[in-house]
Symmetry: C3
Subunit: 132 residues, 3 copies
């Protein structure tokens, strides 16, 4: 049974339907918790700007989901920690390309810093899929 | 089977029992992930102050829970991102009215900003209920 | 069935394998949501520095897990909110001692404040264990 998206007509709709107000995981789902991902490349270097870091983050998330037999369509929640408010829009633009048709519930905030001063964005997700 | 609240006697109790240290979802639960809610009204305008935004946020959350056949009593975790420490207390006062008798696990932090400068609080929740 | 850890070979490995990129909870798990813990001692006093607060936080988490018949090995996600970037390393050093062999997925960010000015760190966790 697939995850269900809930967007009540009685409240303001998600902007351009690019996220879901609520995503429900039916009973019997497997849940995957993904650690905060940053823009570190496989060779250990770090992408130098926000778009590059977000692209690397999405590649990391896709690889981790894949190891669990899941994909972006199974992501139920995505949380982003950015250093500037305008970076949230850069992040969201790249993120939305990966979730066409199956948007997750989202949270995005501006934090005062991350563990490494070269990191400009950190993103974690929860995914779930029927436990077959 | 209902969610279970855990407050060990060996550690400091939750202040006035207004939240739970731990909330357990038994096997077989449906889980609902709610996106970060803000004080946007159904007509697209934004409530101008913290109390007004929190009231709108709680109304949004109630509507989203309702679409999934859930209510405030099914909320297991609530996380608030405020712009000032004193706003956490304003938020908590309004929040607590909705959870009398069934407090969730809570986290509340002060962030450096949110995506829209008019937003003063963002709140997301996880809820769960037996999968009947 | 135990929780599964996923660390794809195609992306940069977790630093010293001290956390897991992804932790999967098989279908049928019980989930435990733990509220943001702070350095408040059982007598209501607050540990005065970051190491003391983190030690108290880990003791609180252990007590809450214990009430649900769980332990550190069942933690799937741990999120830390610190006031300074360097405090993330102090926190991680203490945290890692509790998770040898069974690292959780982690997120750690620097926030602009917490509800009480004496609090220097707040940490919440999600744990899960087969629902037997």
């Amino acid at each position: 049974m697939a995850n269900l998206r809930h967007n009540p007509a009685s409240i303001a709709a998600p902007t351009n339907n690019l996220y879901a107000h609520g995503v429900e995981v039916p009973a019997g789902g497997r849940h995957l918790y993904v650690a905060g991902q940053v823009g570190t490349r496989p060779d250990g270097s770090i992408a130098p700007d926000v778009p590059g870091q977000v692209e690397q983050i999405m590649a990391n998330i896709e690889a981790i989901l894949g190891e669990a037999g899941m994909g972006f369509g199974d992501v139920v929640k995505i949380t982003a920690y950015c250093l500037k408010a305008e970076d949230i829009f850069t992040y969201a633009g790249i993120r939305n390309r990966h979730f066409a048709g199956s948007p997750p519930a989202t949270t995005a905030v501006v934090v005062a810093g991350l563990a490494d001063p070269r990191w400009l964005v950190e993103v974690d997700v929860v995914a779930a899929r029927a436990g077959d």
